[in-house]
């Protein structure tokens, strides 16, 4: 709860900082300081929960659990890495640097709500607080037509899916008579047709928000059109935030009894579609930015496994997956930002010109592909073993493993271009601070791959 307050207040303060700040650098340092404060506030929450157990707040509108605080810590940590790696890229998008940071803090406060909501009203508000600032960030490059179009497309699709989410909530209310997750009582042996259609509408709308196929069609266009700095944020932290809302809703309210059978099959089909469509389409991309957009769809398929399995391992899996995937993708986007040409050919010969960038990119792509000794390996291992423990979806695990093998092809295309092809890539010389942040990110990715228990030891 402290983390929620501190991110929301920091967002408001940052808008005022923009008025008084002398230069753009100081805004960035202020944002990093605000993020550290939020991290400390979250640490207080974590200590409190470890000592006293879960607690509710605001007339039981939100409920803070151990999982909530750990996920918040992952989200805030990834955002810190994001600010360190790409904070200087904000100035190239436009002049309103303070506003960009402020909007990202508002998104963070939305995610803090999404990790702790206890009421369908807060779910709706959290999803909207996450979405609306993103429409603005997508269109922040005001005179670039691609950015305009990304923004408009994202806005229209996002508002449409919000309408569907609300209809789902209204129908569930009609069937159950409550918005409180613990009072819905969907785990019984019978349910009304109203509730059933409400549950399905919510499944569709949230699949839309986390860009699961067949509701993914907006993703590549929006991620490709938005300024690259903000794509890095949207594809990682925000997507993890959408997933946590999804998981919390389904694990608390939509579990057990008859409701389980109703949506499990739908979600299994969505997972299979996401894995297959995401990976196969990524193979055909010419631009690395677009390839990373499709890879984010494919990775969402793996994260959906943690929704299908209701055990501790699934919760550990999503925690590790969110951390490993976000760190690796933020790192890959930050390397991409340094390059002029976003096609695969733009990477030719990077290893000779900038060995550090090429090495870091290699580690990030290894992690995304799930090669052992990087964080991505254990993340995939945990979500897939959770699904096997749950039972009944062995076919889906096999599909996932085949898709992971396909993904190696398009990730390694970049590595081959960097190390085994010759060329003169146009690359910006990285600053010392950027190099230090890059080494820190690589270290974190490898650390998660060797000692995943550093993160998971709290989940008992």
């Amino acid at each position: 709860m402290n983390a929620l307050l501190s991110t929301a207040i920091s967002g408001v303060i940052l808008m005022f900082v923009g008025l008084f700040a002398k230069n753009k650098q100081s805004i960035k340092y202020f944002a990093i300081a605000a993020l550290i404060v939020a991290f400390a506030a979250n640490f207080i929450d974590l200590r409190y929960v470890l000592k006293m157990g879960p607690y509710t707040a605001y007339a039981s509108m939100i409920k803070v659990t151990l999982f909530t605080t750990l996920f918040n810590a992952v989200i805030l940590g990834c955002t810190l890495v994001y600010f360190l790696l790409t904070g200087s890229g904000f100035e190239k998008v436009g002049d309103e640097v303070a506003e960009y940071f402020a909007l990202q803090f508002f998104i963070l406060s939305g995610i803090m709500l999404a990790t702790s909501f206890n009421n369908l009203l807060i779910l709706f508000l959290a999803i909207e607080i996450i979405s609306i600032p993103q429409y603005i960030l997508a269109g922040s490059d005001k005179y670039n037509l691609k950015s305009n179009e990304a923004s408009l497309k994202y806005f229209l699709m996002g508002a449409f899916s919000t309408g569907i989410l609300l209809m789902g909530i209204a129908l569930i209310y009609g069937g159950c008579g409550s918005f409180d997750l613990y009072k819905l009582g969907l785990g019984g042996i019978s349910m009304s047709p109203l509730t059933l259609s409400g549950v399905l509408l919510i499944v569709f709308s949230l699949s839309f928000k986390v860009s699961a196929a067949p509701f993914h069609f907006w993703t590549p266009d929006v991620y490709d059109g938005s300024p690259t700095v903000f794509t890095a944020f949207m594809a990682t932290v925000v997507k993890a935030g959408g997933f946590i809302a999804f998981i919390r809703l389904f694990q608390i309210a939509f579990q057990g009894g008859i409701v389980n059978q109703q949506w499990t099959l739908v979600l299994e089909i969505i997972t299979a579609c996401t894995l297959i469509i995401g990976n196969i389409t990524a193979v055909y991309q010419q631009s690395v930015k677009r390839m990373l957009a499709y890879s984010s769809i494919a990775q969402a398929g793996f994260m959906l496994f943690s929704l299908l399995a209701f055990n501790l391992r699934a919760q550990q899996g999503i925690l590790l997956y969110a951390a490993a995937y976000s760190l690796a993708t933020i790192g890959a986007f930050s390397v991409l930002l340094k390059l002029k040409d976003y096609t695969f050919d733009g990477f030719n010969g990077l290893a000779r010109k900038q060995p550090l960038l090429a090495f870091a990119m290699t580690i990030f792509l290894f992690s995304l592909a799930g090669i052992p000794l990087t964080g991505g390996f254990f993340a995939k291992y945990f979500v897939l073993t959770a699904a096997v423990q749950q039972g009944g979806m062995f076919w889906l695990v096999i599909v996932a493993i085949i898709c992971a093998a396909i993904s190696v092809y398009y990730y390694f295309k970049v590595i081959i271009a960097m190390y085994f092809k010759t060329g003169e890539p146009e690359v910006e010389t990285p600053s010392g601070a950027y190099k230090a942040a890059l080494i820190l990110t690589v270290a974190l990715v490898i650390l998660l791959g060797i000692f995943p228990n550093l993160l998971l030891q709290f989940m008992k």
């Binding site: 806005f155 508002a159 009609g174």
Partner: protein
Amino acid sequence: MPVQYYIFLSVVLFCIGIMGVLMRRNAIIIFMCVELMLNAVNLLMVAFSKMWADAGHVDAGAAQIFVFFIMVVAAAEVAVGLAIIVMMYRNTHSVDINLLNRLKN
């Protein structure tokens, strides 16, 4: 009046909204159709609130509070959405979403 009438009316309004979003090409009209969807939900919420109040639920007013939240969020969305449409109109002098196909390749 039985609640079924309200359910039918809301679902019809909601479906008109969905059809509008899927079939119209003008960004403003699509936006209006999204608002129609949201207002269909508002109507349904209020009807269900009355239904549960008649059934003796003590906290049936929650749905009416929910309607206020939907209105506020819809207003915020209008502010952002119209700004985005104006921004696009300045650059292309059109609000036709067929222009969006440029991103495909």
